[in-house]
Symmetry: C2
Subunit: 552 residues, 2 copies
């Protein structure tokens, strides 16, 4: 099988021709005038090959050209013949994609950090013409429920770039931990960043704990490094501070932002820790947002808005009631909308766009440029798109990768299951039944790696890959994965082996990836039933109605 | 404080002069004739600065020269004045050390993977003249008791290079797991690489288990990558197959190499799984050694030899008894010596030197070029050196980093404790009381990170750093760390922060680094008493007498 038939995600066109060109230490890197920066990108991304790729002004070799004729800003073209390789794109992002695809055309060892002794880098002659269908091709990693080190996040940025994913959404705060080390508010690092132990089993089971403290946070310098490393790979980091709910850790450190006493949670589920939506809270959060946007220069900041039991938390609070009356608002949902708009205003002042979970759209009153991350099914996605909001499609089914990957009783503990590789491959991010205008508002899609049941990086790899390979194809092409996906994937997994990714084999978990009887023990519970019940319970506690129609 | 006064390990001479030179994108890299490869080394190691450092044939800038006048093969000299930086060494290893020291002279951000936006790279003018006292400056990571991913090992190679450590000893096999994926013997990956759960508490406590499967292994390609990545940083990987004891995992996969039934162990301590020292075993092991030496090209292979209850395992076996008679040997210890010599012969045929734990020296009959890793105190080290063997000093006290770092009740579960930072800093690897000839046989020293109680990379960082900083200074200088060590270390920890190393703070564990009540819960037990008792029990079961005199 030609390597042109093993590319993941699948390019628009990829066809082998006869013959081979071999990259060698003598191959010059030829940058067309004005493409010097593009040559730097190629050099950076091919650095593991350890080829000098020194610049040359003319001749055969590896030639890079920024060509405005490549219409799509992320589009690219690769031509390989026996005299050399040409990469064309109209932007550096296009050159990045071209380079990643070229790396897939090389032997698998191209995905190691150092080439094996005597490695050779032949490339089959042929052509690739490609461009993505969707602008937002993302994945979310929940670093709040379990903290993942800076090095794990950097490794994921490499894996994202390999799959031409261009948004890394970091869920940085939640009830169980706050992962941003603020300079102005040191108690976030001192208090909010850790918990004394962690619930050991499934969230509905008796709350046994593991007895082991868990914690960690990124300094602002760490976040700046992550963002810069991402930017070099064409990836935008979307940091999330989840507000006003999921705030136990924040309120444990700064109780004056809420009512009552709070601790960093050790168990899973929805808490009643919601910050008060009053001006003092907004001022505090504006300080945090300023620190965060200074460190992370991307265009988007996610501010949560999900799963708030507003009545439970604000109902009995006199200060909240007074402020609501002052504003002339009639209910907690309106007050919630006001609060999110105020924070959106802070972001606008920093030149950013707010991203929110879909409750904040349903709640009403979102600024027009806010982006809706629609997790509760197709219906709410469509309503947001119809209302003119840009939508990121991230429905629980099939983009929540905290669900098991099969019905196999050996699968490790997860929130429910399964959401299979095939389910992900079959996802249609831009439904054909929608109007043209609604479809035009689908900015893209992203998968979610919620980490309640993902305690370490090996298990993160297991839960995310290879589903993320299927997801990347869906996001890149804007439609379900092509019929030959599983064939291409089988070859692609060797690239993941070389990259050191501990994915779930297609045949099922390796012995040490199974559940065992301990903290990863398996649970029953049908997946969709779990989601449905979760949303029903939420509906009872908040007046932001979920959208149930399309969950099953 | 001048950065010249914050270097770890401490160079022979380091003195600031007035003024500053700034590395900028315009700085040319000037390689003296013949030093092109040295320039490549500098470019690789300074890659995180993202300075182009393009080659230039003359002029000021960053100049690299291979100068035979620098006597010591790992010695180097750095001169910084306002016109540029000169690095001199007689070998590439010397240039590597010079580059690492230069990186310590730069702002801490030089240890990040990508520079912060607007980063500048000023270097204070001054001079460093330096060379190591010891040739073997190592650390052992036990990847058998807990498996650490390839990415963690690569990160440790960066940390080793930063501290001018040049040997990474990988303890690849033990009773609880076999981490080498053999092509010829697939059951090593299928069976020996994993266990169904793991003892949760201290090794003498009731054997509760965590219920979670644990496993993993490196493919031969992974090991080749690790070795190549190490070589680029001047580090030799010393792979260990621990023989003939500590063989439960091997025997679970290939029971024909031993007697009786064996399983991959879930608990800690010394097992009675010892391979039979017969020709069929040697042939099997020779195949494995061939695969291993093909993948890992360094000069040394460690073959264990420690903690074998020979009488228990060989005493009742007729085949062993017959073979012993055939050889005309009088006891199990002689047979053990014969077996280790046979394996040493296999290594010699592959151009390698055998390294062994000191039992194999005490057992007798070692080939003259074998290297003795002397873990059981000063006495046995000295006897091996006096007998003319090259010795690597690795006594339990103070080079075993699986011991707690303080008496603080918050310290996490460990085998005992404490072995403090000060204990490590006070280590004299080449005792002054030894004769000149004995001292000349001290090849070097290494620390040991046994991982029974180190379940994950964050905890590995905690246990290894900053003790490894003190160890690196001892190994580099050949004597206890200089008086100003703690002052220098305080500044050096900021470099570790930038590098993403989650070390133990000097003030004690962070809340999430403490023991809690779970699998990391603390234990009592005095450290040295534990070692002594361990050795006494071993002495009862084997006839390789340990050396007790200097343990306390």
């Amino acid at each position: 099988m030609s390597r042109y038939q093993t590319l993941v995600p699948r390019p628009v066109q990829a066809r082998p021709a006869g013959g081979t060109f071999e990259l060698t230490p003598q191959t010059p890197l030829v940058a067309a005038p004005g493409a010097e920066q593009a040559a730097d990108v190629v050099r950076l991304l091919l650095a593991p090959l350890r080829l000098p790729l020194r610049p040359a002004s003319a001749g055969d070799g590896l030639a890079v050209r920024l060509d405005p004729g490549i219409g799509h800003p992320e589009g690219y073209r690769i031509r390989v013949d026996e005299t050399g390789i040409q990469l064309y794109a109209s932007t550096l992002d296009g050159i990045r994609h071209a380079t990643q695809t070229l790396r897939q055309l090389l032997p698998d060892a191209a995905w190691r950090t150092v080439p094996p002794p005597g490695a050779r880098w032949p490339v089959e002659c042929g052509e690739v013409i490609d461009a993505p269908a969707l602008a937002w091709r993302g994945g979310m990693i929940d670093v709040a429920r379990h903290f993942f080190s800076k090095h794990t996040i950097l490794r994921y940025l490499d894996l994202f770039a390999m799959h031409r994913l261009n948004r890394l959404h970091l869920h940085l705060t939640d009830d169980q931990g706050w992962r941003i080390g603020s300079r102005r508010y040191p108690r976030l690092a001192e208090v909010a960043s850790h918990r004394p132990h962690t619930q050991a089993g499934w969230f509905r089971d008796n709350p046994e704990t593991d007895g082991t403290p868990h914690g960690g946070y990124y300094t602002l310098d760490d976040l700046a490094e992550i963002a810069a490393y991402a930017a070099e790979r064409g990836i935008t980091v979307v940091p999330e501070i989840d507000l006003p709910g999921h705030a136990s850790a924040l309120l444990a450190a700064y109780p004056q932002l809420g009512s009552g006493r709070h601790t960093v949670r050790i168990g899973w589920g929805i808490s009643t820790s919601v910050v008060k939506p009053v001006p003092a809270t907004v001022r505090f959060l504006a300080d945090l947002i300023e620190e965060l946007t200074d460190a992370v220069p991307g265009r988007y900041v996610h501010l949560g808005g999900d799963e708030c039991p507003l009545h439970d938390c604000w109902g009995g609070d006199e200060e909240v009631a007074r402020y609501q009356r002052e504003l002339g608002l009639t209910g907690h949902v309106e007050l919630f909308g006001h609060f999110m708009r105020e924070l959106a205003g802070v972001l606008t002042a920093h030149g950013r766009r707010m991203v929110v979970w879909d409750e904040a759209f349903v709640g009403g009153g979102l600024l027009a440029d806010s982006v809706v991350a629609a997790w509760r099914g197709d219906g709410v996605s469509r309503r947001a798109a119809a209302a003119g909001y840009d939508v990121v499609r991230c429905p629980v089914f099939p983009t929540y990768f905290d669900y098991a990957q099969s019905d196999d009783p050996d699968e490790p503990l997860s929130i429910g299951g399964p959401i299979t590789l095939e389910d992900v491959a079959g996802f249609a991010p831009v439904p054909e039944s929608w109007t043209e205008q609604e479809r035009a508002h689908v900015l893209g899609a992203q998968f979610q790696a919620w980490s309640e049941y993902i305690p370490d990086p090996a298990h993160l790899d297991y839960m995310v890959f290879p589903r993320a390979c299927a997801f990347a194809e869906v996001a890149w092409t804007g439609r379900p994965a092509a019929d030959d996906f599983v064939t291409r994937l089988a070859a692609h997994l060797s690239r993941l082996d070389a990259a050191g990714c501990r994915y779930r084999p297609l045949s099922g978990p390796l012995p040490w990836q199974t559940g065992g009887t301990g903290h990863r023990r398996r649970v029953g519970g049908t997946p969709i039933a779990v989601v449905r019940e979760h949303l029903e319970r939420l509906a009872e506690r908040a007046d932001i109605p979920p959208d149930m129609a399309t969950m099953a």
